[in-house]
Amino acid sequence: MAGQVEVLHYWTSGGEAKSVAGLRAMMEAKGHVWKDFAVAGGGGDNAATVLKSRVVSGNAPTAAQVKGPAIQEWASEAVLANLDSVAKAEKWDSLLPQVVANGLKYKGNYVAVPVNVHRVNWLWGSSAALKKAGVAGMPKTWDEFFAAADKIKKAGLIAVAHSGQNIWDFTTFESVVLGVGGAKFYDDALVKLDQKALTSETMKKSLETFRRIKAYVDPAAPGRDWNLSTALVIQDKAAFQFMGDWAKGEFVAAGKAPGKDFLCAAAPGSANAYTFNVDSFAMFRLKDVGAQKAQSDLAATIMGTEFQQVFNLNKGSIPVRLNMPMDKFDDCAKLSSKDFVETAKHGGLVPSVAHGMAIKPAAEGAIKDAVSQFWSDDKISVADGMKNLAKAAATK
């Protein structure tokens, strides 16, 4: 039985659009009709607004690109479909790390299907810039990082290509917290928002380290888009960038080879931890039986090995399915996959707060504000920054 699938997504840039076209071809091969519903812009904000109006008017799409706690918010409005029968048939429980699977369930039932995993705690480096400054290899600890940064600054290059927007301020901050305090501390402080962790010595040290990085950032950083900062590293004008692995897409598109022209490493001190950003599709409750069948086919296809491989090769991320063959992927993706599997076992796998994977939007927005304010205003002391952060974390 064939049906129509309408998929709301915001993957409209080159590599992403190609990935979606792959999914469309697979669904059409199964005899379903694909209705594309792409809403570009705003990092998904525009798509979210459109989705709200569609759902409120009782005309939900088959699936929509929704991730993190937003899945729970939609599920609590009682508009999502139950995917347990597909999940059981396809054995999702054994294919997904538990912390990832939990995010896709509402009251124990699957309501969303994951597409990919991005690692957020990466440090990207330009081989040429590092060589020019006389830095051997990527720094593994914060001490090594600051020693290297000093050399780079002396060589007249930008040490850290930063983008001063609150999401990127926080991306850097969460990598610092992870590197300074470890995965357990990260989880307590930024995911559970535990007041004791937020006002601890470790948090103080994290904020101090975070502020120290600012001395190595060029004055044009505020407001700069992330890909323009990546471009500075690509052009060897800057040496390092803290950024998730979507940056790799920019390097590769510029004809740079991983491991040779640019280097990837976990952010200093965070080699055995992993902040994940999982894109997913929430499936909406439908009335039409044909459409329901098409919907479960869509869910099964997205989690299937074929789609996971094709999609992630295009997108620069890695498959969310554990134990996939990785031989077609590059070295950075292989490292990411290895660490994903390892950290999933030892509890080092934690959700990224900056990318909306961990906490509700209200609190997330508030702590992002506090961190950005601390970053951009040097007059705020570390103690006050910590106080503001703890206060923001209490936002409901």
């Binding site: 904000d45 979210a48 607004t49 709200k52 759902v55 409120v56 937003a70 918010e73 939609w74 409005e77 001063g164 927007q165 609150n166 301020d169 060029d218 004055p219 044009a220 950083a221 505020p222 407001g223 509700k360 939007p361 209200a362 997330e364 927005g365 504000d369 950005s372 304010q373 601390f374 970053w375 951009s376 205003d377 503001n388």
Partner: protein, 293 residues
Amino acid sequence: MSRSFESLLPKLVVAPAFVLGFAFIYGLMVWNGVLSVTASRMLPNYDEFVGLAQYEKLFEMDRWWVALKNLGIFSLLYVGGALVLGLVLAILLDQKVRAEGFLRTVYLYPMALSFIVTGTAWKWILNPSLGIEKLMHDLGWTDFHFDWLVQSDTAIYCVVIAGIWQSAGFAMALFLAGLRGIDDSIIKAAQMDGASLPRIYWRIILPVLRPVVFSTILVLSHLSIKSFDLVMALTAGGPGYATDVPATFMYVMSFTRGQIGLGAASATMMLATVAAVVVPYLYSELRAKPHDR
């Protein structure tokens, strides 16, 4: 029969616009007001009323106070700056200069641009490593320092600069029209009495321009309270949230943070601010000329 139809016709013609205006302006205002006393988060929620809790929360937020302070700074400097600069330009242009039509167009053109264009252009001009500072460094003046845009305590003044650049020409056009409306004979009479030119402007022309000044202030101040696109394009509220204004605050809370109730509360506060400017003006205007009606 036909007389009653004639008296009915204007009402009938105006009715659709009235109904639409009523539904989509006042109706939505009321809807917003209702939302602001609910616990609405991601979607509107009419089951749970929380009274003024959203307003309490609003006024406890640092970010809201920053937005209000910025609105104060921006409104005062933007309205004042555009007014003064517009008046000066108008007076200078009124001196029967050559190519006045061309100059007038030059100054008026920024008004034809959208605030998005203005914001983006000024973002590049004021950016220390792209714009003025870089230009001065390239010209050899390496001590030159102008990084207001990237400092959290000065960034709001960059918004003011861009805003004045955009609107001064508009104020100029209004003043120029006002100046042209002044009867030459008054000025001639004053000159005969031996009044100096500055004195003529200060004592005669400016008082005559009073209504123009008020309309200009009214138009500019409601633009400043609503200002959203300029800030979004120029700084996106940054660095941090240092240049947030109530409109950007409302947008962020309602549409990206899933706090529709809080966003609605801030929108109501903005409405109250606009009303505080407009209502007294309308009241005085309508009361002053009852014979016109």
